[in-house]
Amino acid sequence: MNQRRYMNPYLGGVLLGLVLIVAFWVSGRGLGASGAAKSTLVAGMKTIAPGHVENTAFYKDYMETHTNPLNDWLVYQILGVVVGGFLSGAIAGRLKFKVEKSPKITNKTRLLFAALGGVFFGFGSQLGRGCTSGSALTGMAVLSVSGFLSMAAIFGTAFGLAYFARKLWL
């Protein structure tokens, strides 16, 4: 354990809040993540199966507002997240390929459940119009009703299901 300590969470929270304010001041919008995945997916589908994109309602709606799905605010922001995360990890000596898990489960189990969790999150973020950062955090900062609702739903469900998933983590 020669890696550096993490930042104090309250200091981290203040800094994250400041990043959020800057995002609002510059661009009038908060942070997000799942939207970038959606843009990438739509761009990918457009390349692989352009005919399919033209005939499917979801993609069609999306393409109406975005001429080039990759030229999107959130896509650039997520590229920044990857760079920023890498920088912090490099400074603190945390760059390492590994599967993080509870010592009681195998790597395979962990990866399987991580992917499954991703499927749920991907689907839920589209249904709920935003993920933890885009809907819950940003929504709460602007005091929007949907921000509080999604925050309560996400964390409430996770707390409720924690008991059933305890073998994965404890």
Binding site: Y10, L11, R29, A33, G35, S133, G134, T138
Partner: protein, 207 residues
């Protein structure tokens, strides 16, 4: 442990302050001098007398005529259903509800266009929308609507149509002119659509 108390001791006072002060609802000054000049040059603030007359006659409820001349002048002569907000009182909070709104179409007028334009510039700088200026002012109004000059014979149809329109408007508004309107060859005059100023939109966002 300690960090939490530091955070609390900073954020609670800030929260108290923000809860105590009233919300800032004033609209900031939005246009740079160049932008305002561009708008003035392009003349988008003007609305033609025919259009206004048409709205007055049809008793269009969305029209709000605002006389920016002095109260004495307003007493002497004013357009039907207009209200009087003298230019010097335009920033009076009493009138803010009339000028800062997005339901009605406000038309400022004065004798010429100077005072009305000044009123418009002030309201524009405050970021208010839906304010316009009567083109040519009252002088031009009287000239064109109340006492329209009959076009010469053989004028293009448009001219005659315009004349008839003005004539009709003038009569409806009670001018003395009583000559019958000249017949027009072309059927129906298209009313110029009311320009709706494009307002800034909220940023699109979301995850």
């Amino acid at each position: 442990m300690k960090a939490r108390l530091v955070l609390a001791s900073v954020i609670i006072p800030l929260g108290l302050i923000i809860a105590a002060v009233p919300e800032n609802t004033t609209k900031p000054y939005k246009l740079t001098a160049e932008q305002l000049l561009d708008e003035v040059k392009s003349g988008t603030q003007f609305i033609g007398p025919e259009e206004v007359a048409d709205m007055v006659i049809s008793k269009d409820p969305s029209l709000q005529l605002i006389d920016v001349r002095s109260a004495a002048e307003y007493e002497k002569f004013s357009l039907p259903n207009s209200i009087n907000i003298p230019l010097v009182d335009i920033l009076n909070s009493e009138w803010e509800g009339y000028i800062n709104q997005d339901i009605k179409l406000n038309v400022f007028y004065s004798n010429g266009t100077n005072e009305a334009n000044q009123a418009w510039m002030i309201s524009r700088q405050l970021g208010y929308a839906n304010n316009y200026v009567l083109q040519g002012g009252l002088n031009y109004w009287v000239e064109t609507i109340m006492n329209p000059e009959a076009p010469e014979n053989g004028s293009p149809n448009e001219e005659i149509l315009k004349y008839n329109l003005r004539k009709g408007a003038g009569m409806a508004l009670g001018s003395e002119a009583s000559e019958a309107a000249q017949p027009v060859a072309a059927p129906g005059g298209a009313k110029p659509p009311v320009q709706k100023r494009e307002t800034k939109k909220r940023v699109q966002g979301g995850c």
